[in-house]
């Protein structure tokens, strides 16, 4: 999660598409082509607020075949970690932001014989780019998209223009609800289903597919895993005799390095074991995000992997 993996983009257009959703166009600040990506990918946008740094993941909704710019849509969520409010209230055309390279946690299955996609509201952002990939291929696909009429008409018109009768739009407020159960039950063998939308919609799709006896491997939903941002905490490095403050968007390892202490590491991803460090004292809990320590070691509270793990509490002393 190191900052060096981000690159600078310029905001070149902002459109208010619904009262709560803004659409942003991002171009590489150095004028280069944007990095290639696959449909279903998201990017983490790094925003430097007045008091803290926000790192929020947003789906790329532009076409993977057009790398002149990335497009994202941001729904304003007042109770969130604050990133969406920042995007709505403080980001203006011409501003520079940092983004990380795309990651795809919502990939199309390349062996599917048919793809059926369900989207609700802003969930369409995760699916729009998948449709572009599907349009290039030969496998049949169909999208069922539920919108709160007529707010989201902007996205709906664009999809209808690109994909014609492969897209069906449903207006929630017009009592025109999707028959998810019926649609899923009627699919041929070998179909894969994808859903991104409000939690109840995801629940209905999963339940319908399971009730129809589908294999789990054929059911896909968007699961955002934001980078392990956490609360700030302080740590005392006993051998080096320094006190270090770990910021929310910084890993313990990065904070230790910033303090000039040379700590071992290899993968920086919680698997290699190289950064394993003894915990001498902890007043609070350790938040283990690694795949290295055994459950017993994690429970013992005496070891931590600083590249990904954190602490919650007042006092942490490490053998470094």
């Amino acid at each position: 999660m190191s900052h060096s993996h981000t690159f600078a983009v310029t905001v070149t257009a902002i459109t208010q598409v619904t009262p709560l959703i803004k659409h942003f166009v991002l171009k590489a600040a150095d004028g280069a082509q944007m990095p290639s990506f696959s449909g279903g990918s998201h990017v983490v946008v790094v925003m430097k607020g007045a008091t803290r740094v926000y790192r929020n993941p947003y789906s790329l909704l532009s076409s993977p075949n057009d790398l002149s710019a990335y497009e994202i849509a941001v729904r304003r969520a007042d109770q969130s970690r604050g990133g969406s409010v920042f995007m709505h209230d403080h980001v203006t055309v011409g501003m520079t932001l940092q983004i990380a390279h795309p990651v795809n946690l919502f990939q199309l299955d390349k062996l599917a014989l048919k793809h059926v996609l369900f989207a609700g509201g802003v969930g369409i952002t995760a699916i729009a780019a998948q449709l572009e990939d599907l349009k290039m291929g030969a496998v049949p696909y169909e999208l069922h998209y539920s919108v709160r009429a007529p707010d989201h008409a902007a996205f709906a018109d664009r999809l209808l223009a690109r994909h014609g009768d492969r897209v069906r739009i449903y207006h929630d407020s017009a009592e025109h609800r999707i028959d998810i159960e019926g649609l899923v039950a009627a699919q041929p063998l070998g179909t894969h289903v994808y859903v991104c939308g409000p939690t109840p919609m995801i629940g209905r799709v999963l339940a319908s597919a399971r009730a129809a006896g589908w294999a789990e491997s054929h059911i896909h939903w968007e699961q955002f895993s934001a980078p392990p941002v956490g609360d700030p905490f302080d740590v005392f490095l006993k051998k080096s005799n320094v006190k270090v403050s770990v910021l929310p968007d910084q890993s313990l390892l990065e904070a230790i390095e910033d303090a000039g202490v040379d700590a071992p590491y290899l993968c920086r991803g919680g698997v290699c074991g190289e950064c394993k460090c003894r915990v001498l004292e902890v007043d609070g809990v350790l938040v283990h995000n690694d795949h290295y320590l055994s459950p017993e070691e994690k429970a013992s509270g005496t070891l931590i992997m600083p590249c990904v793990s954190r602490a919650h509490g007042k006092n942490l002393v490490l053998d470094l």
Partner: protein, 347 residues
């Protein structure tokens, strides 16, 4: 100092192969301490020091021409060493783009690439290959994109699709395997194709490596070293042709061991491919004879200790049983017991 490309090397029959002093100095000894056991030795594939094998993403060295020639010989006899399932076509283009971009940028005197929109023009001056093609349109290249570009690169390449929280081998060019078969492993998952490896499963090496790789990002490749030993500088030690090389192990004697026995190191790189979200696994192989290796005193001491004390299950799995003692005995007089510095640098 860049490499001087040899033009007449062979990896079979008369075995015309040797390492220049430069190649010896940059050899990636896989032993970072005086003993060896499997671990999740994965690190970011970031540029190493100038002239080192990790200076660039894809190392092109003095053996380039001979290695590409050996690959052609293997493919002529056994075309199944290259395979790609139909749904891997976008991954094939990803690999071609990755290799062409890096090779032309890092070795501009040997390779050049120019692009005008989707019209690409590639020139490989070492092999005298020149093509103009439309990126994304396989009909404009003489072979499938992965086949085309990996015939012009050193090392084997395996491409895996990611599905259901796992990887599946579904394309690749494997003409220099250390006794494994891609044809046999096609369609297998990460733990299935690692099935034969001893001890590592118990050490949870594969669970942890898999979890890590599933989250590997575009532009953040990683690498690791793996090693085994080979009798004669032979690249194609495949199960398909076992009868040709299996008996070589019995040919090692106390007298010829220093020139016959080779340490074989694989610099393995992993790249997330952007358009397909597939994963590229590169296996770049380096061979060094025991005599060449022993020109570096620290490496002689370290290799002696490591091979002498190697776990019996690894000796067996790596096929060293018949000749390890000869190697250890030859190296023993070069080990005066003095300490070695940590890491694999010559000193």
């Amino acid at each position: 100092m860049s490499a001087v490309f040899k033009t007449d090397e062979t990896f079979r029959d008369d075995f015309k192969y040797s390492n220049s002093p430069r190649a010896i100095r940059r050899f990636p000894l896989p032993f970072v301490e005086d003993k060896y056991m499997y671990s999740v030795n994965i690190e970011p594939h970031v540029p190493g020091p100038k002239d080192s094998i990790t200076e660039f993403q894809f190392d092109v060295d003095e053996h380039y021409i001979g290695e590409c020639r050996d690959r052609e010989i293997v493919l002529k006899e056994d075309p199944l060493r290259y395979q790609a399932l139909p749904h891997m076509m976008s991954a094939q283009w990803d690999v071609l783009e990755l290799l062409m971009n890096h090779m032309s940028k890092d070795y501009p005197e040997q390779f050049s690439l120019s692009k005008q929109g989707n019209r690409w023009s590639w020139h490989n001056k070492l092999l005298n290959i020149k093509n103009e093609f439309t990126f994304g349109d396989p009909s404009t290249l003489p072979r499938e994109p992965l086949d085309y570009i990996t015939r012009q690169a050193q090392g084997d390449f395996v491409v895996m699709d990611q599905r259901d929280g796992d990887f599946y081998i579904e394309a690749g060019m494997v003409t220099t395997p250390a006794d494994w078969s891609m044809d046999f492993d096609m369609g297998m998952s990460f733990k299935e194709w690692h099935g034969p490896v001893p001890l590592a499963h118990e050490l949870n090496v594969f669970d942890r490596a898999l979890k890590f790789l599933l989250n590997l990002r575009i532009n953040e490749p990683v690498r690791r070293l793996n090693w085994t030993m080979t009798v004669n500088p032979r690249l194609d030690t495949s199960p398909e042709f076992y009868p040709r090389w299996g008996s070589d192990r019995a040919s090692v004697t106390a007298d010829n061991v220093a020139d016959k026995a080779h340490i074989r190191v694989e610099l393995q790189g992993l790249w997330r491919l952007p358009r397909s979200n597939a994963m590229l696994f590169g296996i770049r192989c380096y061979l060094i004879s025991i005599r060449e290796l022993a020109t570096i005193p620290k490496w002689a001491r370290r290799t002696h200790r490591t091979l002498r004390d190697l776990h019996p299950a690894l000796v067996d799995y790596k096929g060293l049983t018949r000749y390890r003692d000869h190697v250890v005995n030859w190296l023993a007089p070069l080990d005066d017991g003095s300490p070695t510095t940590s890491g694999n640098a010559p000193e």
